[in-house]
């Protein structure tokens, strides 16, 4: 589903590359944790998949297509196949929960009828039944992140990218979010989640790819979190 072929990304010539010769395959329906310290290249990975940035060297394939060959007018189509969730939720503060999710469908031209049918279903999937008309500031952090997930998956993308989705949440709430992401994954969506939350990684027992200074230093099928000191955190 996502393939990195010796990808190097240099933001400016003098500094060290953000990604350095990364090769990685993520299969359809997989759940992958991308771990590593801040600045290890997790966010760069996500930006390259979205074609927010271009690889300096090597090739990035998404759904079998080299993103470098996608003309700029087709990039929106690429992004429709990818849902994204961030640490800071990025909800529209002046729209209700329903409207925030509906917004993702409106901007790609879905009909009002389809939106009215789909949004409540998706909100139920993420565990937000009955909160359609709440405003984001009336929700807890965990609930806001669920809205963000609902928005990311409402257009049924094949891939969900999550950049530290539990970074702002307490452990209990985080586990709730992980259950939601796991459910999304169960429904067939490939999930790539950047995180440095050891509890979550160790509980989920999914594939773990560790980046350090832009290079893949570890790729375990059912991995655990290893701290920066090298000590196994369990």
């Amino acid at each position: 589903m996502i393939r990195f072929d010796s990808v190097t990304k240099t933001y400016d010539q003098k500094s060290q590359p953000a990604l350095d010769g990364v090769s990685l395959d993520v299969d359809r329906g997989e759940f992958v944790f991308l771990v590593g310290a801040s600045g290890s290249g997790k966010s760069t990975f996500i930006r390259l998949v979205l074609k927010e940035d271009q690889a300096s060297k090597g090739a990035v394939y998404v759904a079998g297509q080299n993103v470098a060959n996608i003309p700029s007018w087709r990039v929106p189509r690429l992004r429709r196949g990818i849902g994204v969730v961030f640490q800071d939720f990025r909800l529209l503060p002046n729209k209700t929960v329903f409207s925030n999710v509906a917004f993702a469908m409106q901007v790609i031209g879905r009909s009002r009828a389809v939106i009215r049918e789909t949004v409540p279903d998706v909100l139920a999937t993420v565990g937000l039944e009955g909160k359609n008309n709440r405003m984001p500031h009336e929700l807890s952090g965990g609930e806001q992140q669920r809205v963000a997930i609902a928005r990311a998956i409402v257009n049924r993308p094949g891939i969900l990218l999550a950049d530290e989705p539990t970074g702002n949440l307490d452990p209990t709430t985080s586990m709730g979010i992980m259950k939601v992401l796991d459910r999304v994954n169960q429904n067939g969506t490939t999930v790539v989640m950047a995180t440095h939350d050891d509890d979550i990684v160790n509980t989920m027992r999914k594939r773990v790819v560790e980046l350090r200074s832009g290079a893949v230093v570890r790729d375990d099928a059912q991995g655990i979190y290893i701290g920066e000191t090298g000590a196994v955190v369990e």
Binding site: S72, W73, P76, L92, Q106, V107, S111, R151, N155
Partner: protein, 304 residues
């Protein structure tokens, strides 16, 4: 659905940015008013040129009933006098100067008069016998007007020889100046309008960067992301253009129809109906102006 969505985006953009949008409306309003004023001056010049400029170089007016010139002592021009004048104009002596000669009877003069002053109330009070017959002489070299003037002004039956070119050219010169000044002001104001539209779009893009960021992420097309901004500018500019058109129409009704036509009944003025010709041009100009400047701004400030 998509249209309704874009319209609601435009609505929220305008609401958030009301003071800037208002200033865009006012600046385009003023700049397009000056553009329109320059256009009206040109229309007026054409209106006057259309009848006079190309046809008439020198006119030899023949005596009518109440002419006061000594050459008209015998009253209205007689058949013999007219024939003599015509013969003299067509003689070999003047052949090097005269290109064509045409005769205009009193009835024809009235016809032309009515055409030219169609918008003027004076039309109804003029009759053919008040207008002089004339020979319209176009010269081989328009500068040789004095030759004709000297030779014919004291000829029996000739009331006056006039070269309207000088008179018309002076007027056209002033009007051209006025339209150049109006265009100059229009140019400066248009420049202001472009800068202001660009700034407005920039502010608008900044205040909606959350929305556009999310739109990008969920795969909204470039058109859906940018169109609300472009249309916001275009709508403001078109409102300005409509205000400018209304002002020009109002001013022309008030000034031309209401005042100039009555005060200077001898002059042919454009009608306020002709102002309406300018309206689509002004609206189109406003829309293009806003559309282009917002597209250029968006290219820099809204990443797609």
């Amino acid at each position: 659905m998509r249209l309704a969505f874009i319209l609601s985006e435009i609505g929220s953009g305008i609401r958030r940015n009301l003071s800037m949008v208002t200033s865009v409306i006012l600046v385009t309003f003023i700049s397009l008013t000056f553009v329109g004023a320059a256009g009206l001056f040109q229309l007026q010049i054409n209106q006057m040129k259309g009848y006079w400029y190309d046809r008439v170089q020198v006119t030899i007016y023949l005596c009518v009933d109440n002419s006061s010139e000594t050459s008209c002592a015998t009253g209205p021009v007689s058949e013999d006098q007219r024939a003599a004048i015509q013969a003299k104009l067509e003689s070999d002596q003047f052949a090097p100067y005269v290109d064509t000669v045409s005769y205009e009877s009193q009835d024809e003069a009235l016809g032309h008069f009515r055409d030219q002053f169609a918008n003027s109330p004076i039309v109804d009070s003029v009759t053919a016998d008040q207008l002089p017959e004339s020979f319209r002489v176009s010269l081989v070299d328009a500068e040789k007007y004095e030759v004709i003037n000297e030779a014919f002004s004291s000829e029996p039956g000739v009331d006056a020889v006039s070269d309207q070119r000088d008179f018309l050219e002076a007027i056209f010169r002033y009007m051209n100046w006025a339209s150049v000044v109006a265009l100059g002001i229009a140019g400066i104001m248009t420049f202001c309008a472009i800068l202001l539209i660009a700034t407005t779009i920039r502010l608008s893009a900044f205040s909606r960067r959350r929305e556009t960021g999310i739109m990008r992420l969920v795969g909204a097309s470039k058109a859906v992301i940018q169109l609300p901004f472009v249309l916001e500018g275009v709508i403001a500019a078109v409102i300005g253009a409509v205000l400018a058109s209304a002002t020009l129409y109002g001013a022309s009704r008030f000034l031309i129809d209401g005042w100039l036509v009555n005060t200077f009944p001898q002059t042919a003025f454009i009608s306020s109906q002709q102002v309406l010709i300018l309206v689509p041009a002004l609206i189109l100009l406003g829309a293009i102006l806003a559309g282009l400047s917002s597209l250029l701004t968006l290219r820099r400030y809204v990443k797609v």
